[in-house]
């Protein structure tokens, strides 16, 4: 189950729309061990592609360092699919390397209605989970 504040949900969707047709990506950080996303961190998609995303490695280091300093962890790792459904692809699954994170996928294939879904990806297994927006 992913519980996410309304303003963070809206920021993720807005980011995905703004970067469309390229994939958008980012992190929601939260206090370590609490499973509560609190801080919105949009990331540069270094791949700048409509079908691939990758965090810029130097930017990623800075964000991970900052989370560590603040005793936070990446609660949500999000990215968008711009022409396909909001479901993890094989690539998404093979690069899912934060076992504690909720992987959020947004699809911007429809101009009016964004799809927002969340998953746990552990050892190559995808499990969809309900999303509660509060």
């Amino acid at each position: 189950m992913l519980t996410i504040p309304r303003d963070l949900y809206d920021k993720i969707v807005a980011h995905a729309r703004a970067d469309h047709p390229d994939e958008a990506c980012g992190v929601l950080a939260g206090p370590a061990g609490r499973d509560r996303p609190e801080r919105f961190i949009p990331m540069t998609n270094a791949a700048r592609s409509p079908t691939f995303y990758e965090f810029d490695s130097t930017e990623q280091f800075g964000v991970w360092q900052e989370m560590d300093d603040r005793d936070e962890e990446p609660v949500v790792i999000y990215h968008s699919h711009t022409a396909t459904e909001a479901y993890p692809s094989r690539t998404d699954i093979s690069y899912a390397n934060e076992p504690g994170a909720h992987y959020v996928l947004v699809s911007t294939r429809d101009a009016d209605q964004a799809e927002f879904r969340s998953y746990r990806i552990l050892d190559g297994q995808v499990t969809e989970e309900p999303v509660t927006v509060e």
């Binding site: 994939e23 990506c25 990331m43 791949a47 592609s49 409509p50 079908t51 691939f52 995303y53 990758e54 965090f55 490695s57 130097t58 990623q60 280091f61 800075g62 991970w64 360092q65 790792i77 990215h79 699919h81 711009t82 022409a83 396909t84 993890p88 692809s89 690539t91 998404d92 690069y95 899912a96 390397n97 934060e98 076992p99 504690g100």
Partner: protein, 92 residues
């Protein structure tokens, strides 16, 4: 001589859960070989035939070693090496 190496969650199975380990060496390559002696299998997750694996980021202090000398990057006592899996994916 000790170099601190920070290990991401997903690789802590090789270090008995430790988020930080120590190693020695005068280059990153030597350091990884040293770590592999103490934590067998760890090096294979970071290095393949072509050098450092494509979707693993290794930093010397705060610089990505891809912008330094890769596995030949000199390291010294007091340095910190950080490993972070790349965050990537996409529809394709």
């Amino acid at each position: 001589m000790a170099i601190e190496v920070r290990i991401p969650t997903i690789l802590r199975t090789y270090t008995d859960g430790a988020k930080q380990v120590e190693g020695t060496g005068s280059t990153l390559g030597e350091l990884l070989a040293d770590l592999d002696r103490k934590h067998g299998g760890l090096r294979d997750r970071l290095v393949d035939d072509g050098g450092l694996r494509r979707f693993v980021n290794v930093y010397l202090n705060d610089e990505d070693v891809r912008f330094l000398a890769g596995l030949d990057t000199p390291v010294k006592d007091g340095d910190t090496v950080t490993v972070l899996p790349a965050v990537a994916g996409g529809a394709s």
